[in-house]
């Protein structure tokens, strides 16, 4: 019996146990995660787990309950407990119904070699990264994960998909600076520890002995890691239909709220996407153009927000676990890069030649590698505070001149990308592993007219 058949069997068995007269959906997910972590240039944590979980959601007589378990020899008990909970649960007047049958256009991007990757393969990439530090301290991780999911419901929808994800995220450290390199991909074979280690080391060395500059508004070039942070907040607070319906989002569909250089697309069907191509409600993920040449064009929906929005709105396939309280979130957001020559590796702190091209246009500003510990002050204005991290440099007359100590910023992410605010877009967009989720966002570098730094490293 194949692995997929086993998951399908589990799902069908649970549906049969539920029986007739109850709307039911079941998700069986098999997830294998391996993560090799290093610090002070050695592997200090090295973990793996393999988990199969069953999630069951039932609805009848206006009441809903959701349960999950990893105890697979207790499925009868799971169904009984879920039915009991549903019968006793308070009313659920906004139940949107189950997802109807709809086909997938993609069954996910799975690389069998990545799924079978050994601890030694991850350790070899760590060794290569550490060797490129050439005596400096290195820290980070190399991760592989595989997810196989089967979804089935009593309305006749049945989907299965699988995906792999590989990522490496590391820093090299001098006593006064850190330098970063990070990359995610479907295939572990696309992750080169030596290339990433060399880039991180170059940044760390170029960032040593930074000077402190006064806070204030600076023109900036944000590298992809920092841009991915901006995209994450746009996904959570901007293009989330629930936030829009609640008037907690700045977004107004149909208005030119972004610079014409900005086109944002949610697309899990791309060959480099690492997300499962359907959501927890069993809706296939649709390709959604969220911003089209600066025009706010759409939001992402789950079934509840689509029903609430009315007017023919449909789920775009972006429900998340617990989404009834938080809404719908993009899973594969990508900011489209500018057209131009393929970037190449360069000497010095810039990530590549595409970043250097953006730097060349800056009379006085900052090159920022990464943002850190970013939190929203008010979702409506999307004002976010956080700090720079892993390398900041002063740009003068188009040239990177001086490493700079970290700043604290307090900046509206919506305004940062507003009309007239984007002065350049990089020509290479790469997936950045997310800080928590295994699927990250695809981002190029950006040159922005202004970023509000409200404090220096010393306060």
């Amino acid at each position: 019996m194949s692995v997929a058949a086993t998951e399908t069997d589990l799902a069908q068995r649970v549906l049969e146990l539920v029986g007739a007269g109850i709307e039911a959906e079941v998700t069986v997910e098999r997830h294998a995660l391996s993560l090799t972590r290093f610090a002070n240039s050695y592997i200090h944590q090295n973990v793996a787990d393999e988990t199969t979980s069953v999630r069951l959601r039932l609805h009848a007589d206006g009441r809903t309950a959701t349960t999950s378990t990893t105890v697979l020899d207790g499925l009868d008990d799971l169904v009984r407990r879920t039915v009991d909970a549903m019968r006793l649960a308070p009313a659920d007047p906004t139940w949107p119904g189950l997802a109807p049958p709809a086909p997938l256009t993609s069954t996910g991007n799975l690389d069998e070699e990545t799924a079978a990757a050994s601890p030694d393969e991850r350790a070899a990439r760590v060794r290569a990264f550490v060797d490129q530090a050439r005596g400096l301290d290195a820290a980070g991780y190399c991760r592989t994960s595989t997810t196989r999911v089967v979804y089935a419901n009593s309305a006749g929808q049945h989907l299965s998909a699988a995906r792999t994800s590989a990522a490496m995220d590391g820093i090299v450290r001098t006593p006064t600076s850190d330098g970063l390199a990070r990359l995610a991909a479907v295939r572990l074979a696309d992750i080169d520890g030596a290339v990433l280690g060399a880039r991180a080391a170059a940044k760390a060395r170029a960032g040593a002995d930074p000077v402190e500059l006064p806070p204030g508004r600076y023109e900036v070039v944000l590298e992809p890691a920092a841009v991915a942070d901006v995209l994450q907040f746009l996904a959570m607070y901007g293009f989330n239909a629930r936030m829009v319906l609640d008037r907690q989002s700045f977004l107004q569909v149909g208005e030119a709220q972004f610079d014409p250089a900005v086109t944002l697309v949610e697309d899990a069907s791309q060959p480099d996407a690492t997300a499962i191509p359907f959501d927890v409600e069993g809706t296939p993920r649709k390709r959604v153009v969220l911003v089209d040449g600066g025009l706010s064009a759409a939001v992402v929906h789950d079934r509840r927000t689509a029903a609430r929005a009315g007017g023919g709105a449909e789920s775009t396939g972006h429900a998340i676990p617990g989404g009834a309280s938080f809404g719908a979130i993009a899973s594969s957001l990508r900011l489209l890069p500018a057209e131009g020559p393929a970037p190449v590796e360069v000497d010095g702190p810039a990530a590549d030649s595409s970043v250097l091209a953006l730097v060349a246009g800056v009379e006085r500003g900052l090159l920022v590698t990464d943002n850190h510990y970013t939190r929203v002050l008010d979702p409506r204005t999307l004002v976010v505070t956080g700090l720079t991290r892993n390398g900041v440099w002063l740009i003068e007359d188009g040239v990177i001149t001086t490493p700079v100590r970290n700043f604290r910023f307090t900046q509206s992410y919506a305004q940062a990308l507003g009309p007239g605010a984007v002065l350049g877009v990089g020509t290479r967009a790469v997936e950045q592993p997310g800080p928590w989720a295994e699927s990250g966002f695809v981002a190029p570098a950006l040159r922005l007219a202004s970023w509000n730094y409200t404090g220096g490293a010393s306060g």
């Binding site: 308070p90 009313a91 995220d169 991290r389 307090t410 928590w436 306060g459």
Partner: protein, 478 residues
């Protein structure tokens, strides 16, 4: 086959495969949560998970493997896989590694619980949340939300040194919030804090909160905030309420004293610490009013337990005494590396995750004042409470926090309500300016502390009281 048998099989297999030390935790957890909004239930979720996680040490290198299958063969394979992973770690090895000594105990421990939180009828729980959120909505909240979460965790720990410990920990918590939408901004008030109050207690904790009694007030305050003046920008005297103090302690003390951060083990993600082990027992962290303990023995506090996930018994210890840094949150391996003789602060958020250094209950001992005395003694300042946003740098020095509400203080009296209050500072400078501290301690529970890769969510406790600080920069805006 008992859970201890499963854990023992995993440990024995790891040793047979070549590990010089191994431990295993079998865990079984049931959890339940419900959310409500504007008088209607949004989501009811009940979850269960069980499995075994095995940790193996080969030379100076660790490996960890976890599976949900609690059969003997699966446990043995997990022990072997953990050892194989440790061997891969050894290809990029660190310095020689020891574990500080911990007495190998055979024991059981359970948290106190008056009302089993999973035994309370769903209808009762639902009525509580729908009633409170309906009341807040009626009183003016555009979005009134309520939440409860409960966990029932059993764990069985076995080590190759002879530990055999089982624990049963029940945790409960709940809260409500009221959000109003203004012209271009939102305002929020919560009770008792945004995600609520949590502890290692039963449903009695939730009953005592009396959510409905506070629903109308938070809605009215949120509405009033929309037209309140902005918190002024500048340096002033700042008084923080106990809930915001809990967050201040968590972020600028709790994480800073984690020994794994101090040793650089979290450098690439959560970050390091401004603390230097060479300055332990000498460094001034704050004023003499600052006495902070690491204390997992506090009955009912969210970070309490009988033993940590390495089998170290819960013990109270000072982190800061009379303003001087004197202690860390440590594990058996990190303590040995640092030359310390104690551990006791290592936990995992489930069977599938590696135990790591985590806060337990990290909080203040009471001071000599009251909040009323602080206000009366302040000519010009701001009072802030209930956290709304939090951000701190990777060394746990440079922070900026936002609160839900502020009030100006003029001539010893509370004045106008202030909206969008924020403050920023540098840890030791800020703590050094604390010149008044209340005696009214509340052990706040934080159920959402993120750390580690893969990410883990920790439950921590923070005894805290209102305090006053001098020359603090407030009113930072974008």
């Amino acid at each position: 086959m008992t859970q201890f048998d499963v854990a023992t099989a995993a440990v024995e297999a790891a040793l047979a495969a070549g590990a010089r030390y191994a431990d295993a935790r079998v865990m079984h957890r049931r959890s339940e949560s419900m959310t409500a909004r504007n008088g209607e239930i949004e989501e009811l979720s009940q979850d269960e998970d069980a499995g075994v996680g095995v940790r193996a040490l080969v030379g100076s290198s660790w490996g960890f493997f976890a599976v949900p299958d609690l059969g003997r063969d699966a446990a043995r394979r997990a022990g072997e896989r953990a050892t194989a992973i440790a061997r891969a770690s050894a290809t990029v090895p660190g310095p020689a590694l020891d574990l500080v000594d911990v007495e190998a105990r055979v024991d059981s421990w359970a948290s106190a619980c008056e009302v089993d939180p999973l035994g309370v009828a769903l209808s009762v729980k639902g009525d509580l949340l729908t009633g409170a959120t309906a009341e807040a909505h009626k009183a003016g909240a555009d979005i009134a939300e309520g939440l409860y979460q409960v966990w029932d965790t059993r764990k069985w720990f076995v080590s190759s040194q002879g530990h055999r410990i089982d624990q049963h920990i029940r945790e409960s918590g709940a809260g409500i919030s009221a959000t109003v939408i203004g012209d271009g901004e939102t305002q929020r008030r919560s009770y008792p804090s945004y995600r609520g109050q949590y502890g290692t207690r039963g449903w009695e904790l939730v009953d005592e909160l009396d959510l409905s009694a506070h629903a109308a007030r938070i809605a009215e305050e949120a509405r009033a905030l929309l037209s309140a003046p902005q918190c002024p920008a500048g340096e002033t005297t700042l008084i923080l309420g106990s809930e915001q103090m809990a967050l201040q302690i968590h972020e600028s003390v709790g994480h800073a004293i984690e020994l794994d951060r101090i040793l650089g083990w979290e450098a690439a993600f959560a970050g390091t610490s401004w603390l230097d082990l060479a300055k332990l027992n000498q460094l001034r962290y704050g004023s003499e009013l600052m006495n902070i303990t690491i204390d997992p023995t506090i009955p009912g506090a969210l970070g309490s337990f009988g033993y940590d996930d390495e089998g170290t018994p819960a013990t109270q210890r000072f982190a800061v005494r009379d303003g001087i840094w004197v202690g860390t949150l440590a594990g058996r391996d990190s303590a040995a590396v640092a030359g310390l003789d104690y551990a006791g602060s290592v936990r995992a958020d489930g069977w599938a995750r590696l135990p790591m250094v985590r806060m337990t209950n990290v909080g203040l001992l009471p001071g000599p004042h009251t909040l009323e005395e602080m206000i009366a003694a302040t000519d010009d300042g701001v009072l802030m409470d209930l956290n709304r946003s939090w951000s701190i740098d990777d060394k746990r020095l440079n922070f900026q926090f936002g609160c839900e509400i502020g009030w100006e203080i003029k001539n010893g009296k509370l004045g106008r309500m202030l909206r969008n209050p924020t403050y920023t500072g540098i840890g030791p400078r800020f703590w050094g300016s604390m010149d008044m501290l209340s005696s009214e301690i509340v052990s706040w529970g934080t159920p959402n502390c993120g750390k580690g890769q893969p990410g883990q969510i920790g439950h921590t406790g923070h005894p805290a009281a209102a305090a006053r600080f001098q020359n603090v920069r407030v009113g930072v805006r974008g």
